[in-house]
Point group: C2
Chain length 145, copies 2
């Protein structure tokens, strides 16, 4: 299959608020007041979890269809801890981002436990966001004045 | 500094549409029609880019303040290619996610080029989303019936 290109265009509207255009959609990113923001939208690391949730939902249903199992309902809780010390420049001991991301898939399905384990393993392997988080993804930043 | 915990709760509303709750915010994730969705929101990998854009904006301003440089305006274009073959299960040759993420920072600043290069390097090192993409992030998925 041919690669698909995805792109967004973002504009800084304040030191914490970013307006992102993805096709015809506007995404507002901000920080909560206790992180110095104006709290007009979820913050960047919350959007990472949201992206992951959306990807897991798509993969969960696509792979369930392949495996001929029924998903009656699916809820996904995601969370992670990060130490803001590096972000704020006060210490470089910890990494900047999430140390781990915990995902709970709450599924109502007709499949047995063993089948659901195979289903989870396939979701994890084939989900693009899972891959970009779990494995190193090269980032190339260029500067344009 | 103490770790901060972030979390979201997501519910599958269709095989492609996910409603994500992040604090008091609703985030709608969907797929475009050509990827089998109902196109009611950006898709998961677009949200990854949006999260990254928002994080870069916050770090850009925070570090500019530390370096005592002025950012008059900042636009950020982000893009990446991914091969959907693994997602669709037709081939496992390529990784599932973005092969690389390209970021263009368009900045209007009073700083010289050398100073801006240091600024970009610090942004890249201290941005949580940059870290979670560029370096491996453990993911733990648990299954709850």
């Amino acid at each position: 299959m041919a690669d698909i290109k995805f792109r967004v265009k973002a504009k800084s509207e304040s030191p914490t608020k970013t307006l992102v255009k993805a096709r015809n959609f506007d995404i507002i990113v901000d920080e909560p007041a206790d992180l110095g923001g104006s709290d007009l939208g979820p913050n960047p690391v919350e959007y990472v979890l949201a992206a992951f949730a959306g990807c897991l939902n798509v993969m969960a249903h696509l792979i369930a269809k392949e495996m001929e199992i029924e998903i009656k309902s699916l809820e996904i809780d995601l969370g992670g801890n990060l130490n803001p010390a590096r972000l704020f420049g006060s210490s470089y001991d910890d990494r900047a981002g999430y140390k781990q991301i915990d995902v709970a898939l709450k599924v109502d399905s007709n499949a047995d436990e063993e089948t659901l384990k195979k289903w989870v393993n396939a979701i994890e392997d084939r989900c693009p966001v899972s891959d970009n988080l779990q494995n190193p993804t090269p980032v190339k930043i260029s500067l344009k004045k």
